[in-house]
Symmetry: C2
Subunit: 305 residues, 2 copies
């Protein structure tokens, strides 16, 4: 049994109202992998990097139970690089630089021992690549989670994205994306339309306002934990997804009740992620940190009528 993650492993340069970084390690699969590894091993990553990547980071992943044989190294190429600058409200950002580099050649080929994975997480990436990954599975995974974004909802990609959506169990997007994808302003109506496209579950991420989980019959609202400071939101959504699938794999259960708890664990990991630049805080956690913050979520949401 394993968790397989498909997504970018990258360099980021980040500017926030609190400071800025040079090139640091980023990428969706990186955040997802580090978060999921707190709950379950092995994690298997499918990605692509250039010869400029820091191989110590790959070693670090391995040390944390992340199998990296699915990360293709193009020695002559350069790693995907993104640079962005956040506005004061931390909810919006400007992209300063996007250098796709080796990502342009990414054609995910799964190692044999990844093809019967039980839990598959498709990080935000071109939906045609997500589809290729699903097609390589020799057994249908117990749960496929799809993360995507508004870019892939534009006319050029929408048909392919819808094909992927029809094949997965859980879709995670933000509220603006749920509205765009469904054409409905009401999130309740939007959820109904998106679930009609195929998935059993929809998660709508609302940043500081928490997250909503929908299935056909039920809704769950996870609170956003008010924090003293959001230092760097980069990777928060990916970290959420990693904590979410890691917790589910640990429980090995895909009921609505387990998914509710998984949303709380995902939110917990994401709340740490934003406290420092990049993966720094995410990588520094222990079991007590996680459990004590989960308890903060419990207290935050609890009332007795």
């Amino acid at each position: 049994m394993s968790i397989t993650i498909v997504g970018t492993v990258a360099f980021d340069a980040i500017k926030t109202p609190f400071g800025q970084t040079d090139k640091i390690i980023g990428g969706a699969a990186t955040y997802i992998g580090y978060a999921a590894a707190y709950f379950y091993k092995p994690i298997q990553i499918v990605s692509i990097i250039g010869g400029d990547f820091d191989m110590n980071e790959i070693q670090e992943m391995n040390n944390r139970g992340i199998d990296t044989q699915g990360i293709e190294v193009k020695h002559e190429g350069k790693t995907f690089f993104w640079s962005g600058s956040y506005h004061m409200d931390m909810n919006s950002r400007d992209t300063l630089v996007t250098e796709l580099n080796v990502l342009l050649e990414f054609n995910p080929i799964l190692p044999e021992n990844y093809k019967n994975t039980k839990y598959l997480l498709l990080g935000n990436i071109d939906p045609s690549l997500q589809l290729k990954v699903i097609e390589q599975m020799t057994e249908r995974p117990k749960l496929i989670v799809l993360d995507t974004m508004n870019f892939w909802m534009e006319p050029d990609f929408l048909d392919t994205l819808k094909k992927v959506i029809a094949k997965v169990d859980v879709v995670t997007i933000n509220d603006a994306e749920a509205r765009q994808l469904s054409g409905e302003y009401s999130l309740k109506k939007a959820a109904k339309k998106i679930l009609a496209m195929g998935p059993k579950y929809l998660i709508i991420k609302k940043g500081e306002h928490g997250a909503l989980l929908f299935n056909e019959n039920e809704m769950f609202s996870a609170p956003g934990l008010p924090l003293d400071e959001v230092f760097d939101p980069t990777g928060a959504g990916d970290t959420f997804a990693g904590g979410f699938i890691g917790y589910i794999a640990k429980q090995d259960d895909i009921s609505m009740e387990t998914l509710k708890s998984a949303v709380i664990y995902g939110s917990t990991l994401a709340s740490f992620c934003v406290e420092k630049f990049g993966t720094e805080r995410l990588k520094s956690l222990n079991e007590t940190d996680i459990q004590s913050r989960v308890q903060q979520f419990v207290t935050l949401a609890k009332f007795n009528l």
Copy 2:
């Protein structure tokens, strides 16, 4: 024992993406009163109206247990009138018309039997008037709740507003207002600064994202109930405040635990309010409607780790 509400009783003309109304009954005290009356009686309203107001509405208030002797009728004057148009997202609106009319002459004089009220709700109005009401109390109420808005946080009014804030127990504002009043972007830090101004509790209303309740040591997050449609948000914040104070008066308890439940009841009443124009839906509820929607909030927020 009673609940006393100070605020506007008015006419509104509302335009939303779903339709528009001619002059209909509105005003903060109207919404607060109708909501609170589902939980507790008598409700006493302090306000001012003109000779053009519909006296059948006053009769309706009386029938619902709302004492209106504190509503001054200026027969030669015209009732406060507001007209606004909501944008597609229902979170923002343009004010089309504001005719203050008799509100310009409003000098709240409390009837003798209002002066020892146990629960005082100061609806959104000029803070100098809110202050005058507090000063007329012969006994300090058990709980004073203050609702206000960004307009009164501008330099001309801020000092007076801060004097009122120092004298109340609960402040209810929205997230943008909490940021403006405190100068802090983090709502957790904003709450700390606002509580340092005097009140024991702060409620931050976040519209569709629910509400946060803070005291010195604890935070509570009430979810926003996803609705099929938000038809008209007018009065939702006032309705929230009315359900909130009504529930507290019914319990006659002002602990954090009771206030958490009161936030859920306030949210419940507000979720009905937005389903139709004006006070229409708010006025049509019964006990079963309220309890069954409260249960939806319970289900929405519940998880078991």
